[in-house]
Amino acid sequence: MSICFSGNEAVAYAMKQINPDVMGAFPITPSTEIPEYFAKYVANGEVNTEYVTVESEHSSMSVCIAAEAAGARAVSATSSCGLALMYELLYVAASSRLPITLACVNRALSGPININNDHSDSMGARDAGWIQIYAENNQEAYDNFIMAMPVGENVRLPVMTCMDGFITSHAVENIELLETDVVRKFVGEYKPENYLLKKENPLAVGPYDISAYYMEHKVMQAQAMKMAKARILEVAAQFEKISGRHYGLLDEYRMEDAELALVLIGSSAGTAKAAIDKLREEGVKAGLIKVRVFRPFPGEELAKALSNTKAVAVMDKSEGFSANGGPLFAETRNALFDQKERPYLIDIVYGLGGRDFKVEDVEKVFGRLKNIAATGEIGPVYTHFGHRQRGEQA
């Protein structure tokens, strides 16, 4: 069924089709619409989820952790400072191996306060032990949410499905919906082995874990994240059968013979693809790699996809303040280290706090790559893009 949905409505609709046991609900722009849509489903009896309207995102994640541990399937949605407020509990969720599903509608972190899109919120939580899957558009936001539970519940890790605030969450697009019974069958029932409410066998969750055990638990957690890669692909293959839509860890666009390439995440991929089509007509061998899964990071796959390129720009939509480039750059450069032949690599931090990124901006980046490939002169490795220079008028 084809329908016109915003990204938020698409995710809320996926939640309705899944009919989770518990939802932790708290408003924050731009994810607020998700609990709003869901409240209507609750009010109309379209779901029978226990809808818990908490007093903070901290409690929202606490409710999800407890509910999931109790044997229920729990979901929530948040953005920006809301995710930051959950920070402590993101780690608790992951280390307790509770497969919660969280829709993160990416928005810049304060301060100063800014409600528009960048990836600083979820990138700030990138090492919390959550699987992170990013959507380029509304269709992917819907699809990713449906794939999240079969992934997370299998490897027992929580999953964050991310989409770009406003650009994806609020813009309306035509998307294809699956039938509800198809979604329910695909997602299946949540059947944890042990849970708090299991009558036969009481369970204790959240111990004081001394140094004699803590490290073993962390190693198991790390192994689960490694295993998640194969599971994500397995679920994607199953999803393709019911939807006809193909998903990988990365999305390669016109990479077959690409000499110059961008590596980026999220909705900017659409802009980049339009620019690449234009450049291809002009004879530029341009290509794009959209990183769909950031955790676990598909390092080997990325290195392979970039193996025949000459110059690559990593586009980071969050700063990171490492003074050595953004988080996507760090991962990409790391992934390329074992390659015998490596492309020239630069990092461009762009689009912070909703700063627009247009087709002509992508062309400018490719112009720089073209120069680098031709001369071998990289220039500054790590730069910012789209900001005014000192003295320039707004």
Binding site: D21, V52, S59, V92, K199, P202, A204, Y213
Partner: protein
């Protein structure tokens, strides 16, 4: 519940908090927890929540748990939200026919996790109306981290962050009256109690809290030998002095109705309670008589106000 309380019969029930936990000798917390859990009907299951606190690290050190019931701990400031999340899951699973029997939800947290860092989470859970019991075992400071002041610490008490020196001597502010704040949440049952005597008061109130539908709150005085400075064996006496000096009055508020649970035959002067603990020893130094006077005045005012409210 049997109408006549019988301690002997109660202690013959299988313990839900088993021995072997690592709480200090002379600590009130273990007595409070086992006392509250004893009020559960034998056949009813419970899921216990803890905030991060002395109790939590002493009762669930991996791979051993002292609880016979299911248990969850997640963080310091979210035990009320955590308990409400388990209750939410119970409602959902019950509605879907996946859980059938009766399960009760009880949280234990210290005063730091309740009066301070967990206050918002507690207020939210009480307002939402989950069917749960929140038990604060109030030992009047952050004991798990080594005796730092909380908003529950009484005025003049010495802690490691309200040190006694030549310019300042102990805590400056009075204790926050959390029980009253919980009454203001219109919770169906709010009570102040202590592990006193044969534990009847604690048992009766715990039973009411557990079997009253909706969010119920118990504030239980829980002395700490390390933080308060008393010999381990003196725990029952310390509790009795707190109650008989009216420093910690026992009362309950049922559906907005205030009832006084206990009136001392002879109201003792507050200095009797203070003298028994090293955290107040500086109050007995020459020149500090005003401290005891101020403290007495404050306790008297609070007591008079409570008598007015309870019609006592």
């Amino acid at each position: 519940m049997n109408t006549v309380y019988d301690l002997k019969r109660e202690v013959e029930k299988p313990e839900r908090l088993t021995g072997g936990h690592r709480l200090c000798a002379g600590c009130g917390a273990g007595i409070v927890v086992s006392g509250v859990l004893r009020a559960l009907e034998k056949e009813d299951r419970a899921v216990i929540t803890n905030a991060t606190c002395c109790l939590e690290v002493s009762t669930f050190m991996y791979p051993y748990t002292a609880y016979m019931d299911s248990f969850i701990h997640s963080a310091f400031e979210n035990s009320a939200a955590t308990c409400s999340g388990v209750e939410a899951a119970y409602n959902a699973l019950k509605r879907r026919g996946k859980v059938e029997d009766i399960v009760k939800f009880i949280t234990f947290a210290g005063d730091g996790g309740t009066y301070d860092i967990g206050f918002q989470s507690l207020s939210g859970a009480m307002e939402r109306g989950h069917d749960m019991v929140y038990v604060c075992y109030d030992n009047e400071a952050y004991m798990n981290t080594g005796i730092q002041r909380s908003s529950s610490t009484p005025r003049f008490a010495s802690t490691t962050t309200t040190a006694v020196g030549s310019v300042r001597q102990g805590k400056i502010q009075n204790k926050k009256d959390l029980t009253e704040i919980l009454v203001a949440h219109n919770a169906p049952y709010v009570a102040q109690t202590a592990p006193i005597g044969n534990l009847k008061d604690l048992h009766t109130k715990a039973y009411k809290a557990i079997y009253t539908e909706g969010p119920c709150f118990l504030n239980v005085l829980s002395p700490c030998p390390r933080g308060w400075g008393y010999p381990m064996a003196k725990l029952p006496e310390i509790v009795k002095l707190a109650v008989d000096t009216c420093v910690w009055p026992l009362y309950e508020v049922e559906e907005g109705e205030w009832h006084l649970s206990y009136t001392p035959k002879k109201k003792l002067p507050v200095e009797d309670f203070f003298r028994a603990q090293t955290r107040f020893s500086h109050m007995f130094q020459k020149g500090n008589e005003w401290m005891i006077e101020e403290a007495q005045k404050y306790v008297d005012q609070k007591w008079e106000r409570l008598l007015e409210r309870t019609g006592g």
